[in-house]
Amino acid sequence: MPDPVIASVGASPLGRTDLPGRDLFSVALAEAFDDLPDPADIVEAVYVGNQSETYEHQIMQGTLLAEWAGLRHVPAERVEGCAAAGALALRHAVKDVRNGEHEAVLACGVEKMTSAGTSGATDALSAAFDRAIEQRSGITAPSQYALLGQRYLHETDATERDLAEIAVKNHANAARNPRAQFPKEIDVATVLESDPVAPPLKLYDCAPVGDGAAAVLVTTAEMAADLDQPQVRVAGSGASANNIAVAERDMTDIAGARIAAETAYDEAGIDAEAVDIAEVHDAFTVCEALLAEAAGFAPAGTGYQSYQPPAERADGWTDVQLSPSGGLKARGHPIGATGLLQALEAYEQLTGAAGDRAVEDAETALLLNEGGVADAVTVGHVLTTAEAP
């Protein structure tokens, strides 16, 4: 089977922008293809991660973005899975290359979240939850995660201050990331004193609403070499759906994420100890704690220590560095693009292009991208340097 690799990446500015979705995509694509032949010369299929048509009243994103890339008569489709749409698009591209179906596939994602204001985004995101019981009870994305957070604080030694420290750490990482929506440091008091959104979560526990697009070119290793591109191997890919309703799941053992990560580890022939960096789905601070445990980096009940230096974490923790990009919290979370922004960060880290935020000697990365609340669907990818064993 061909060995799928990421051969190039690009992103638009993140945050409040004056560009519609298709134009954000054009910016991301231009960066990804800066040193490459035109997309029409190499790309054989397109997958678009996109959360909601309510932001721009536009479906058919596959057709639209393929056309805007100069591609016609290729298979092109939108992939939907709320905030996991981006990684689902990546996974489809990886499978197409691995199966020998195509040599070069464009996985991209786009969201124009600011078009409808915070209340429009709140409404659009609530569509990810069970309509019959959850939506009709007035649930929102922050309140869903707050239910997990409340339970996590109840079952573990973690405090609201620990969750705040996760936000502080991710802002510090973002301060060194020129792509970040919020490239600035914050302190714990800022988080703890910010407005309640859904207790125990406060405004600074929450990833922001923002616009953005990302483009990731997946090819065979041979094609990436022919294109003279730095390449990162996609060594493993896993995905898992869980119940739609959060009440019916284990709310602190995020089983879908555990399965997605373990599937990706198994395909890559590694275990959690081998992972140097991880971009996890910290849409809310408590997610990073829960996903550190689900990914096998931390013993149950200690994932909240992700903000501490490895030497100071509990016994059983690995030395992984979480969310070097600043994570969803501070790098930004344009929903359908997020899974691909995670891949972009890993590509830059593993090809020596991460500048000031480079994690020394990083060779192996785990990406965990979630859709719905927590593990309603989770996608995991293991990326490694071309030289990694």
């Binding site: 007035g138 239910l147 009440a247 709310m251």
Partner: protein, 155 residues
């Protein structure tokens, strides 16, 4: 109401006759709820309670799902308050929402008729049912407009 299951011929799908009176459909479930009866699916293979009832068990995959009345009594499993509501519920905010573990083992999310500060994990609550308000009917889909709304009351 037992249905489904893998029979000797290997023909496992026997839900083709599902209609809107069957409590394994949403209209059937909400019709019973409007009469004050909370119905759950109960997997006859592994015992998992499914709220609302549905044709298949998520825990083991079995399609042998019975429908049984569930106790309305339970305990707060987790809770929060919504300060940034969807537009349809803006007038209600902040409101308390919880996951409740019911006495018969199922878990269900719903509003709690109490201030956030007055709720804690483990509190005893009871499921009550009311008709949708005019505002709720406005934002309901056509087929949902008469569905009742459940609310957990502290006991």
């Amino acid at each position: 109401m037992t249905d489904g299951g893998l029979d000797a011929s290997g023909d496992s799908m026997t839900d083709g006759g599902l209609d809107a009176t069957d409590p394994r459909t949403l209209p059937g479930f909400f019709d019973a709820l409007a009469d004050g009866e909370l119905l759950g699916g109960v997997c006859s293979d592994c015992g998992q309670v499914l709220l609302p009832p549905r044709p298949a068990c998520y825990a083991c995959g079995s399609r042998a799902v019975d429908v049984e009345p569930q106790s309305p009594e339970g305990q707060i499993f987790s809770y929060t308050a919504v300060h940034t509501p969807p537009p349809a519920f803006a007038a209600d905010a902040p409101y308390t929402v919880a996951v409740v573990e019911l006495a018969d083992g199922g878990r269900l999310l719903g509003r709690v008729a109490a201030d956030y500060a007055d709720v804690t994990i483990g509190d005893a609550v009871e499921l009550t049912v009311r008709e949708p308000t005019a505002t709720e009917r406005e934002v309901a889909l056509d087929y949902e407009s008469d569905w009742p709304v459940h609310v957990f009351e502290p006991r």
